[in-house]
């Protein structure tokens, strides 16, 4: 194991400062600092606040990652960093830091795609991915269906959200229901006490003429807000648990149906689900049920690794080193809208 490369990964695309270390496919450490609490009162991530927090947290988070792994900076063989997609100012803190560590330690640097890193992280827990695999990534920033013939060089977009990301819909509905930000965990909790069949909320983009691999959550979010407002106007109490359960069911019903269909259509029998929304307990349960029925092997990282972290970037970096992919050029920058088919640059 000691002969496998030690890879340091940096992630700063949103509000989490993540620094992780992997050796080969083994997770050594995963240090995280978050500015989430500072964004709470704004109901969403404020880019400048996130960027300032990344700068403050950067060196201490590197130190935590190194000490948790029991290694020193001089032991690092390669560095990987999220270079997009994400918030430009936030990305640039990580990119600049990673470039500086790579320069100072004289090791190669890999600028990687955040979405591909969400797929790669599963290898740290469940071993090498079967390729091709279908990957569904759902978070506050993205909702994508991908066909992955080769995680290091060939990732193909099948569909994505045409409006809100899945996680954004959770945040907005939580707000409507008076639940805290971010909305995913409180809705998940509230929904356990509710009846998912109590209200029939719409399933976006599931008509026969719709682009089947794309997602839409904006209409659902509006439908929930209307329903709640109608109750409030009528002076009736809002059944928070039922609304949460019915909303959540509408989201995960669409997500899992589309993921399973993508597998079937492409003759692929492996599905990976990642991103913050993949920590949702109902999504995990329904995906497991539907994949079992369809003969698909489902892989989901543990909830801790579903959300943004540095280990996922290190995991992808490790694969790139192993595959002999060329490191990034010295003028690597950040690309807030890096296309998903660019795995590294």
């Amino acid at each position: 194991m000691a002969d496998q490369p030690l890879v340091l990964g940096f992630e700063t695309s949103c509000d989490e400062t993540g620094v992780g270390l992997v050796r080969g496919q083994t997770l050594l450490s995963d240090a995280l600092a978050t500015s989430m609490a500072e964004h709470e009162r704004f109901g969403g991530v404020v880019p400048e606040i996130a960027s300032r927090a990344h700068l403050e947290a950067m060196v201490p988070t590197v130190h935590r990652a190194l000490s948790e792994a029991g290694v020193t900076a001089g032991d690092v063989d390669a560095i990987a960093v999220t270079s997009g997609p994400g918030l430009t100012g936030a990305l640039l803190v990580g990119v600049a830091a990673a470039k500086a560590y790579a320069l100072a330690l004289d090791v190669p640097l890999y600028g990687v795609n955040h979405l591909a890193a969400h797929v790669a992280v599963d290898e740290l827990e469940h071993g090498r991915l079967a390729e091709p695999t279908i990957a569904m990534l759902v978070s506050g920033g993205h909702s994508s269906l991908l066909l992955v013939p080769d995680l290091t060089r060939d990732v193909q977009p099948l569909g994505q959200t045409i409006d809100d990301a899945a996680g954004e819909a959770f945040d907005k509905v939580a707000r409507v229901l008076g639940l805290p930000f971010p909305g995913g965990p409180p809705i998940d909790r509230a929904a356990r006490e509710g009846d998912p069949a109590s209200i029939a909320f719409p399933r976006g983009l599931t008509g026969p003429r719709d682009a089947f691999y794309d997602f839409s959550f904006s209409g659902l979010k509006t439908a929930v807000a209307r329903w709640v407002e109608a109750r409030e106007r009528a002076g009736e109490p809002v059944p928070v648990a039922d609304v949460a359960a019915a909303f959540q069911e509408a989201v995960v019903d669409v997500l899992t149906a589309k993921a399973v269909r993508a597998c079937r259509d492409h003759g692929v029998d492996h599905l990976v689900i990642g991103g913050g929304v993949a920590a949702n307990s109902r999504l995990r349960a329904l995906a497991a049920e539907r994949c079992a029925a369809a003969g698909i092997v489902l892989r989901t990282p543990s909830p801790r690794l579903c959300t943004d972290n540095g280990a996922m970037v290190a995991a992808l970096g490790s694969r790139l080193v192993e595959a002999g992919v060329a490191p990034s050029a010295v003028d690597l920058g950040a690309d807030s809208s890096l296309p998903i088919d660019v795995v590294s640059r």
Binding site: R41, F42, G43, G44, V46, E48, I49, S51, R52, L55, E56, M58, V59, V62, H63, A73, T88, G89, L92, V93, V95, A96, A97, K99, A100, Y101, A102, L103, A104, L105, D106, R175, V176, T222, A225, R226, E229, R233, V330, D331, L332, G333, A334
Partner: protein, 213 residues
């Protein structure tokens, strides 16, 4: 000691390598100023590499790092500060942050740079280079004008309505400003950028109705 100095507080990226000793000041061995605009993140590390090569030195020869802390446009400013912090951390070196305006020009002067939004970053200095006012960010009419005026000639002259002589951050200026802390690295403060402005962030209004009755 061999000192790497860098600054990304203005559109001109500055990287220099200098030999410094307490009392005898700085001897600049190599320096590059790159009109990098908003590409500091792309160009900073290649420029550091080039400056080291110009002077025939390598990373392993460095004894300290100095960086400008602004004020300046936040995104580019952070690139320089985090780079200095990371290089110093990776090599186990002391790192010193200085006000970037201190490193522009010398002697009694007012230094102005572009703060966008019709405002200027500015500071005034005594003949011995001691900062007497600022750094601050203000509308042009609120800038104290101790002649000569130096710094961003375009933005400065335009907004102040009087000529501003072009002057940029230099390695010598960064070293001069850092001298007290370089002499006693344990006294160096934390590397906090001089933002001078709060983040733009407005809490959203209470939930608005999405539908009308």
């Amino acid at each position: 000691m061999l000192v790497l100095a860098l600054d990304t507080a203005t559109p001109t990226l500055v990287v220099g390598l200098a030999r410094w000793a307490p009392g005898s000041g700085a001897e600049v061995l190599a320096e590059r100023a790159v009109a990098s605009g908003n590409r500091h993140a792309e160009l900073l590390t290649p420029t550091i590499r080039a400056v080291l090569a110009d002077a025939g030195h390598s990373m392993g020869d460095l004894d300290a790092v100095v960086t400008g802390l602004g004020p300046g446009p936040f995104t580019g400013l952070r690139v320089g500060v985090v780079t200095a912090a990371a290089v110093a951390d990776a090599r186990g070196l002391p790192v010193v942050g200085v006000c970037s305006l201190d490193a522009i020009g010398s002697g009694a002067r007012t230094v102005v740079t572009d703060a966008r939004r019709k405002e200027l970053y500015w500071a005034t200095y005594a003949a011995d280079d001691r900062r007497t006012t600022g750094p601050a960010v203000d509308r042009p009419e609120d800038v104290v004008r101790t002649p000569p005026l130096v710094g961003d000639a375009v933005a400065g002259s335009q907004r102040l309505g009087v000529p501003v002589t072009a002057a940029e951050v230099t390695t010598a200026g960064l070293l001069r400003a850092a001298a007290p802390q370089l002499g006693a690295p344990a006294t160096a403060g934390p590397l906090e950028p001089l933002y001078l402005r709060r983040p733009d962030a407005v809490p959203p209004a209470l939930r608005k109705a999405v539908s009308q009755p």
